[in-house]
């Protein structure tokens, strides 16, 4: 009798202890870069298999070092992305869209496209007519493909840290 009571007590305590850990915790994160790339392997040299956009929600299915294997919500795609492209915060969509509440809480990034945004940049440029953004726009188009990066590394006798090895 006492033993049964003790068992129940133990079980109850275990329940309390682990109650905050959901069974098979599914981590859902948001993309916090303008253009995210999902890759076949956990490396910047990995082939790009899909693209994701700012604010997209993704489920984490695997972790390796600083890399996360993710699957965008509502799709079958999967791919690796560096953790620095992800945030636990939700990115609220542009105002006016359904379900958007007013303001952002500490767990949310402010509304995409609001704040210091294109709108404010346009107004700033109007006030500072001499500023020239031509080269800024041009430099932002300078891209290095995974193949170019691989060749550059091999030719120079240097290497990226081993895939998924590094924090």
């Amino acid at each position: 009798m006492i033993r049964t009571g003790l068992s129940i007590l133990c079980f109850a305590m275990m329940c309390i202890l682990f109650s905050h850990i959901p069974a098979q915790a599914q981590e859902t994160l948001s993309i916090q870069v303008k253009k995210g790339e999902l890759r076949a392997t956990p490396s910047f040299l990995g082939k790009i298999v899909a693209r994701v956009a700012y604010g997209d929600r993704v489920d984490v299915t695997e972790k390796r070092g600083a890399w996360r294997k993710v699957s965008p919500r509502g799709g079958n795609l999967q791919g690796w992305i560096h953790a620095s492209a992800l945030t636990a915060k939700r990115v609220l969509l542009r105002a006016g869209q359904a379900g958007v509440r007013t303001g952002a809480t500490r767990d949310e990034l402010a509304l995409a496209g609001k704040g210091f945004s294109e709108e404010v940049e346009a107004s700033y440029r109007k006030e500072n007519g001499k500023l020239d953004y031509t080269w800024i726009n041009r430099m932002e188009t300078f891209e290095v493909t995974p193949d170019q990066m691989r060749n550059f590394l091999v030719q120079g006798g240097v290497s990226l840290p081993r895939e998924g090895d590094r924090p």
């Binding site: 990034l109 609001k114 404010v120 041009r138 430099m139 030719q155």
Partner: protein
């Protein structure tokens, strides 16, 4: 009365304990609300506490990556109003390949719009990095580099400034609070013209804060030494000779003209930087640069 206060205190303590895992702000809000309901504090006092907590927690973390990017673009425009771009495609292609490869190996490889590099057409010895990942180096600074390893150390130093958010940290605290207060006020509809005007003013202020520091008087010595340390770590990590930074500083020490508007004004002296790197344990054995690496370096920027 005493019982009442005791009861309220217990409720407050319990609530705080329960909310221990939540953000401090949330916990405070909950506790404040409970205290109000228990009659321990008045609704006015409750409101004041909540507002106070919200104001204190306004910090750099509240800027979205997107906003940092737009700040970065405006800072880049300030840099380009001082120095013209060096419009050589092969040179910029080479610098971007090297720079983006280094950035990929850094602790923060992904930023809102990525890292982009541009050479500036000037004999001054200068370099800049914006919070948006726009990195500029002058021809004068590239001439201080005799190897790809040395140039890698320069770019890695600038990547360090971005990762460590040195630019954002030069925005005045009052300005940050001001900006985030306007942002917090936004409703579900788009901003009215009054808010846009107000935000633009704050935005201008933030750009001036960064530009005045970065281009005008320079970051603190502490920030520069931190960026040097980040450079040594990153170049070593990829397999470059981290001593490239020392080699570059040795050349810079000879070339830098005292009283100049460039690194002579905004950075600790090359000798101080070398001493600091060594005092932080930076002892680098001589390492020969592989021939193919040196050939491509000389081909790309040897005559810059």
């Amino acid at each position: 009365m005493i019982a009442n206060v005791l009861r309220a205190g217990l409720i407050l303590a319990a609530t705080l304990a329960l909310a221990a895992c939540a953000a401090v702000e949330t916990a405070t809000t909950v506790a404040t609300t409970v205290s109000e309901q228990a009659g321990v504090i008045s609704p006015e006092q409750g409101k004041a506490i909540r507002t106070g907590t919200a104001a204190v927690s306004k910090s750099l973390e509240d800027f979205t990556p997107e906003q940092e990017y737009f700040i970065g673009r405006a800072v880049a425009a300030a840099v380009l109003s001082k120095y013209p771009a060096y419009a050589s495609t092969p040179v910029n292609q080479y610098v971007n390949t090297l720079g983006q490869t280094l950035a990929a190996a850094s602790d923060k490889p992904e930023i809102f719009a990525g890292y982009h590099f541009l050479v500036l057409d000037s004999d001054d010895i200068n370099a800049f990095a914006t919070p948006g990942g726009h990195i500029f180096v002058t021809r004068g600074l590239i001439r201080c580099c005799t190897t790809e390893d040395a140039l890698a150390s320069v770019l890695a130093h600038e990547i360090g400034h971005v990762r460590l958010r040195h630019g954002m940290q030069s925005i005045e605290k009052a300005r940050i609070t001001e900006a985030l207060t306007v942002l917090a006020r936004e409703g579900a509809t788009t901003f009215g013209s009054r808010e846009v005007a107000q935000l633009t003013q704050t935005f201008s202020g933030a750009i001036s804060d960064i530009a005045n520091t970065m281009i005008g008087r320079g970051y603190s010595r502490a920030f520069e030494y931190e960026a040097d340390e980040a450079s040594v770590t990153l170049t070593r990590h990829v397999g470059y000779n981290p001593g490239g930074l020392i080699d570059m500083l040795t050349v810079m020490d000879k070339k830098l003209k005292p009283g100049g508007p460039d690194f002579a004004k905004t950075h600790p002296s090359p000798r101080d930087r070398m001493n600091e790197i060594r005092s932080r344990g930076g002892v680098f054995p001589q390492a020969a640069t592989p021939k193919e690496r040196q050939d491509r370096f000389l081909k790309a920027v040897g005559r810059i």
